[in-house]
Symmetry: C2
Subunit: 557 residues, 2 copies
Amino acid sequence: MASSEKKLSIFALGGVGEIGKNMYVVQYADDIIVIDCGSKFPDVELPGIDIIVPDISYLIENRNKVKALVITHGHEDHIGGLPYILKQLNMPVYASKLTMGLIEGKLKEHGLLGSTERVLIHADSVLKFGTIVASFFKTNHSIPDSLGVVLDTPEGAVVHTGDFKFDQTPVNGQYADLHRMSDIGKKGVLALLSESTNAERPGFTPSEKSVGVNLEDVFRTARQRVIVSTFASNVHRLQQVIEAGIASNRKLVVIGRSMVNMITIASELGYLNIPDGMLIEPNEVNKYAADRIVILCTGSQGEPMSALTRMARSNHKQVEILPGDTVIISATPIPGNERNIGRTVDELFRLGAHVIYGSGTLTGMHVSGHASQEELKLMINLMRPKFFIPIHGEYRMLRQHSTLAQAVGVDPANIFIVDNGEVVEIQNGAARKRGKVPAGNTLIDGLGIGDVGNIVLRDRKHLSQDGILIVVVSISKQEGKILSGPDIISRGFVYVRESEGLLDDASRIVSNTINKLTHENENQWSTIKSNVKDALGRFLYERTRRKPMILPIIMEV
Amino acid sequence: MASSEKKLSIFALGGVGEIGKNMYVVQYADDIIVIDCGSKFPDVELPGIDIIVPDISYLIENRNKVKALVITHGHEDHIGGLPYILKQLNMPVYASKLTMGLIEGKLKEHGLLGSTERVLIHADSVLKFGTIVASFFKTNHSIPDSLGVVLDTPEGAVVHTGDFKFDQTPVNGQYADLHRMSDIGKKGVLALLSESTNAERPGFTPSEKSVGVNLEDVFRTARQRVIVSTFASNVHRLQQVIEAGIASNRKLVVIGRSMVNMITIASELGYLNIPDGMLIEPNEVNKYAADRIVILCTGSQGEPMSALTRMARSNHKQVEILPGDTVIISATPIPGNERNIGRTVDELFRLGAHVIYGSGTLTGMHVSGHASQEELKLMINLMRPKFFIPIHGEYRMLRQHSTLAQAVGVDPANIFIVDNGEVVEIQNGAARKRGKVPAGNTLIDGLGIGDVGNIVLRDRKHLSQDGILIVVVSISKQEGKILSGPDIISRGFVYVRESEGLLDDASRIVSNTINKLTHENENQWSTIKSNVKDALGRFLYERTRRKPMILPIIMEV
């Protein structure tokens, strides 16, 4: 891509064909704007990996052109990559107040606060980055201060929705700016990038306020303590828990590091309103009658180290679940977390709690922060884009979103479903796919950024399935015979004490293999090692139908 | 438990507090009847394990009292444990025709057909096992020939529902025997063991027939091939696919080992009706127009080696997905499988197929085989038991089932929610929990039954997270100094070529540690080893924040 040409390029470095790790790039000539910098969690295919962030080789290669990193909102799949990405490439970060508050917490933790240029923006900001002018519009989402982004380029306007829903009765009066969206659409949108998280879901997503009504009902009728577990970042939800607590005359206790952190930041920045005297310390909980207490905590996804999980397992230092407590899991299980959540619910029931859990649609205790099909169509109708690029979702969601766009009249030839790195190029009003820039997963393991590759992962998977056998033997070089060993050390294969017979036989196989080879005057260690590996592998598979990793260590003396 | 006493004992060896691995025991004096012998699949906590079956120590200890192993139906969570359990304890197996057909396939595979006594039963069988008389009743479930079990004991009747739903319009006229259930209830039921799989689900489970209507609609309107993926064991579903194929004049192709196997057995035994000439071989598929073909295959849960997954990845030998094909996933994702199913759906879309996927409730392409809340209440009302033991479910499901039982009038004091192994003892009409028999998971790994224990699993988990470092060093005994090494071998930790600096530093740490100790005349190998482990572990954690397993191999020469 000869980037100095006068043309517009749009591509994702993360976020299409996947959920999470969002990063989108809009480039006109020598001006690059990056939108979002997310992370995602690894699945079972990536054992030992802590977190995944986008591969930003393209940005590093074009570092002089990168004018801004604009963040749409403060969720991890939009800001979680920052500490790791900024260590590789220093970019000025643009974000709204709450989003920036959360970002600064991250940067501080990683010692990057001083070195990172931060620019606070709001819905009315207008910024000029070379040939590109950026402006914004307010949206509804499950975290306050979420913005959509408009990038006016010489080729036309590119709109990125960020994450959104249309909530007609938002909490705290945080209305989406329908009028500005309408104006943007009237002025003309060249390309719309719209999020596809709920593109498979028919209808409208219910208002966040519907949850508040249900919370208040439960709070009023609960005769003892109420414990609410939800996503810390859902500030509107937290506010509604506080309101329900006020209505039922309860004191508020906050448990869990990320919850305490969020409540502190959101209160300081004015996004959360807790009446004076309502918040008490966890150790004060027993000073109040059970029906005067609401506990707000982390753990709605059954995370093993979270507050709710610890309480459920009766090993939380400060709070004990008591018979008669009402526990509300104010979240819908994210696929993959059902087992951990189920285990937490089981333990809570065993402790005598009344538990409200399961799909938010059934319990009324959770609504999504993402637009359903009718809202996605509404967004497209408001923006009336010439070109449409569904983003933010697995391939099937992008496909469903494409179907929705066609249903409201977007020309199928003008819809681009892309993979990460795949470039949509627009010049003189015509768009086409043109090549790919490098894109992929950068794996974070401990302090290492991208140092765990396929071989290491393959080994980890192999080790986790059948363990490892280490065969240690020393051989006299002159005499060509075994001096000591073979000693066989097993980790994760069989427990030695219970498998002595097997390991004795294995040891004999190794001796025989080596003796045979040395008799034949074979003295290439690599040949001896590979023969030992093969013979032992065959023997073990025959006897156990398992294939441990085999590591021969042959020392010559 | 002094078992020769004249009292009734009821307990689970598997199936309560979990989904799967069902095995229930009813004992009166010296007569033991075992109901079901299931398996379940391991979760991520049990790396490398193939399958889990019940621990049957109690049965082995009381082998002379075991009169019969009665199987309610042919699903894996009821028959999957048979090959492994029968190797430990030979028991006569009682099952209905289709169930026995499936069992015999398993026994043949494991060379157990000759040594296992098999007794064919049907809904009208009455069998006497010492003091216990067994009879049966027909139920509806997602596999034909499902039975509930009545065990008449001197203390009273124990009823085990097996898996069931009440389907008012069953496929093939396989009606549940409401009248017999009614008679059993009228005669009086001492204890009801009823399944709890859907105890969290309100309402009634829809009829299997509702799926058939939707299948026919799609088959009629599909202009090209239709590919249906479902559970092989759901014979009613298979029949409905065949009916829809007949209605739209399509030839039938069957793909996938378990699907071919099931269709063969079910056809032979008369549970499936395929018109002559409808079934064709996979290699004949291209002889027919695309709208004359229906393909029935495995893979509805995105299983990596299944037919549908292979087709989606374009590496199935016989069938290629073509643009315009309609793929119906006639199943609801089982929690934990969403990711694999999602990936399959993505690939199918990429190949140009039209895919009908997701929750059966939304697509109309799947209904559950298990009773929802209203049906569970109906069963309790039919049986009117004195004592109620919810079975077959996680703890929260058992709790919900208990709530349902209370709602229809069962005395809460007469409801027993038990853990595996926990014994409910009934004597002179009074029931109480009394102690536990051994119960737990027997882990199958390859050919090993129960030889993988906690230490091996802990090591596998550790290895999968951060890999292993093996430190090899030889030391001169006389001179007390390092002769060769330390050599560091890494597997699953870091890739050596990219981490030479780190491993060089690690090697130096090891040398320094050993030299220091030998200078201090420390010559206990165990002390040297543990010092090397500690020093190296600290160093690596400091540098990488990872904690690989460290295995020092110190050879003295």
